[in-house]
Amino acid sequence: MRSFRPVLALGAGVAVALTLAACTASPESGSPSTEGEDTLTIYAGRNEALVGPLLEQFTEDTGIEIDVRYATSPELNALLLEEGERTPAEVFLSQDAGALGSIANAGLTSPIPAELADLIPAGFTSDDDSWIGVTGRARVIAYDGEHLTPETVPDTVDALAAPEWKGRVAFAPGNASFQSFITALRVLEGEEAAAEWVDAIAANDPILTDNNLATLDLVNEGQADIGLINHYYWFERAAEEGEENMRAQLEFLPGDPGGIVNVSGAAILKGAEGDPDALAFVEYLVSEKAQRYFVEDTFEYPLLPGIAAPEGLPSLDSLVNPELDLADLESLEQTQQVLADAGLL
């Protein structure tokens, strides 16, 4: 094509470079070098469609401008570890406790003030105030409502290792919540029993997925009879497709390691120690208003005492395993070794 003249190409190149430069120079692009202004930089490991409205409300209520970087929690976790203390982020809002524990262990967080940390009951937040719990999410069994009735669905994950479930159970071995459940199994039932269960389930021809949503989809499409997921994925899917169209149904597992409650949470990063805006944001997340938002819009359990759980869900107290402390869930490496030995990772 004759139109691709070098001069034209060069002109286009200069134009692109200038525009990229303009992009970069503009204040809202939030490069780390733009210091001194009032913008609070948040890394949000939660989906924009879910928490975006709440973050906008925060700016409206407090006048604090924010720059939000959305990605998955694991991606932001990897990013924060790579950035270290040079991160432009001031607050990390994470989908699960594991990622928060990981950056806390790397020494990248600054302590949450005690009067704030104490708002959330022990067991749902870090034991050293390195991060704060925001919402609770229960592990559940999703089952194919056309193949199974509530009576035939096991109410303990131990049963899933039986031959009758061969080839019928789906889960995501790489997912943080799944690994937390395995850790709970190790803590509650002992290393040997946990390894036995993992070996048995691995030998039972499981359907391996990449994440909870893919697991739920398999159940919803009739490809798997049982899926191990977090409860709120069902509600997200139901909001998209209509509750009456959901083939998958939920079975909660009170008292079982397979039904433990994990949390989402937030940490103030080291560089933002003492930053009033960062503190205001974390305070906002555990305020009544934000907690109600999570209940109504994302179907998660509020952690602030006195706020009612989403309708139709078993109470948080009934799910909590008193013998389990969230801090016990930090021994992730052993869990991964168990999964790797069984050929699941």
Partner: protein, 517 residues
């Protein structure tokens, strides 16, 4: 290659190529640092995991089978496009390029939504083959247009059948283009994440993503990524070896290009099926499914046209920036590889190709690491993201530039030099001018690929800047597939523009071989 210089490469060119290589090798350096910090025992422990041999086997099987099937579909398609009497040839050429506009994750999602039982090897093989066929079809069609059928005629007069004549006459001419296309497909399959992940086929890239994902174990991820680099290295060296032999064969071809157009007759119907079906399956099915979802969705989450416009603008600018960086890096390497031989040249070219075998998340993290260490002021700016696109997709430009440069007769450069022009001036006046369509095609190919890129974009983009791919991701991630549809359709439409220009540029640049390679 026919126009090769025996002399040592000029120092300036060599230095430029080595600098470009060094920049392109940043992700490899990062991997070395990570694997080094992991220690020998951790590296060995990886091989104790029963899953690792399975991952390697699956990766090799998928890459080999996708490569074979794209060649099996792409070469006959290219023959039809270049040598058959076809009605509406321009339309078929555009159709052949269109799958380039469809990201593998989007095609996989569309098929999965239509046929939920699709999973595993066959599903991944099917969708990756569909979206990767143009990487073979386009360069081979260009090589066929540039070649001559004169040798086939000679073979026919010596009593050979038409197929034997093609094998003796035309095949040696198009073999480098077939190899270059196959190399691209193979590296693309090795590094693809979205297509395989959605079908739950476990390969190295999914395991790498998982290791960065839940385990926060960057060392394990780096060791797996290094295994992937070794696989890519093997493939690149094998291609160079095969190309070297092909080049010697091709070097014997001389004379004026002469082309006969083949009458299809009773083969018209199968030919049309071959040309139409892969593109329809790659493009029409996912788009239709998404649009249907758009109307079925009960909660079409708030749709802001301004967001769509902003994301489209960012996508176009960033991918254009990426294309410029890629061309700048690939030019010295491509010119060097086209004109000179030797161990250094070969090493430079090999290094240049390796980034294509790396998953986006590894390149993304390595540039986080590098830009924070070297140019912290530029961290999380559009520059670093455009640079990442350049590094990631530069290999796609190397082949095109090498091919286009190789076709420019060195005698023309010699004439310019005897007229008193310097090397650089000669390159600009003669070589660049003649190789221009091939270089433009290479730039378009980088741009179209950069538009679809997701993992590196998520890590490196300026905070608050969204592209079509990231907007699409943020919606499909919460299963708001209805809300994702406008972004998906826009992404395909925007990426279709360079894909269209690419097929068009190629038609006009018939004298160039393997320009997309």
């Amino acid at each position: 290659m026919p126009h090769l210089r025996a002399a040592r490469p000029p120092r300036a060119l060599l230095v430029a190529a080595v600098v470009a290589c060094a920049l392109a090798a940043i992700p490899l350096g990062y991997l070395l640092v990570r694997v080094g910090s992991a220690g020998f025992e951790d590296v060995l422990a990886v091989f104790d995991r029963p899953r690792v041999p399975v991952l390697i086997g699956n990766t090799v099987l998928l890459a080999a089978s996708v490569t074979l099937s794209t060649v099996a579909i792409g070469v006959p398609s290219a023959f039809l496009l270049a040598r058959a009497r076809l009605r509406a040839r321009a339309v078929w050429t555009v159709l052949a390029a269109l799958p380039l506009a469809v990201p593998s994750y989007l095609a996989a999602y569309g098929w999965l939504a239509a046929l939920p039982w699709m999973q595993g090897f066959w599903a991944a093989w099917f969708v990756l083959t569909l979206v990767a066929v143009p990487y073979v079809t386009l360069p081979v069609a260009a090589a066929l247009r540039a070649g001559t059928t004169g040798l086939d005629d000679v073979a026919r007069t010596l009593g050979r059948g038409p197929l034997a004549a093609f094998r003796l006459g035309t095949w040696p001419q198009i073999r480098p283009a077939v190899l270059a296309g196959a190399l691209l497909v193979c590296l693309y399959t090795l590094s693809d994440f979205g297509g395989v992940a959605l079908f739950r086929y476990q390969v190295l890239t999914t395991a790498i993503q998982q290791a960065y994902g839940a385990s926060f174990n960057r060392d394990y991820a780096a060791i797996l990524a290094s295994l992937l680099v070794l696989l890519a290295l093997t493939v690149v060296i094998a291609e160079q070896f095969a190309r070297g032999r092909a080049a010697r064969q091709f070097g014997a071809v001389t004379g004026q290009p002469r082309q006969r157009r083949v009458r299809l007759g009773q083969w018209t119907a199968p030919a049309v099926v071959l040309l139409a079906v892969p593109s329809a399956l790659a493009v029409a099915v996912p788009v239709t499914v998404l649009v249907v979802r758009l109307f079925e969705a009960q909660t079409l989450r708030a749709f802001h046209p301004a967001e769509l416009v902003a994301a489209t603008g960012n996508t176009v600018l960033l991918s254009a920036g990426g294309a410029l960086v890629a061309i700048a890096l690939a030019l010295p390497i491509g010119v060097l590889a086209a004109r000179y031989r030797g161990r250094v040249v070969r090493a430079v070219e090999t290094t240049g190709y390796l980034a294509l075998g790396l998953p986006g998340i590894v390149v993304g993290l390595s540039l986080v690491f590098f830009s924070l260490a070297a140019v912290p002021a530029l961290y999380q700016t559009a520059f670093v993201l455009a640079f990442a696109y350049g590094v990631l997709f530069m290999p796609k430009a190397i082949g095109g530039i090498r091919g286009a440069t190789a076709q420019v007769p060195t005698s023309l450069e010699d004439v310019s030099r005897t007229l008193g022009n310097g090397r650089l001036r000669t390159w600009w006046l003669v070589t660049a001018r003649l190789a221009r369509p091939g270089i433009a095609a290479a730039a378009l190919l980088v741009a179209v690929t950069a538009m679809k890129e997701l993992p590196a974009t998520l890590l490196l983009r300026p905070t608050g800047t969204d592209t079509l791919a990231t907007e699409l991701w943020s919606r499909t991630d919460v299963s708001a597939y209805g809300a994702a549809a406008p972004y998906a359709v826009t992404l395909i439409l925007v990426a279709a523009v360079p894909a269209f220009l690419l097929s068009h540029a190629r038609a006009g640049a018939g004298e160039l071989e393997e320009a997309t390679a």
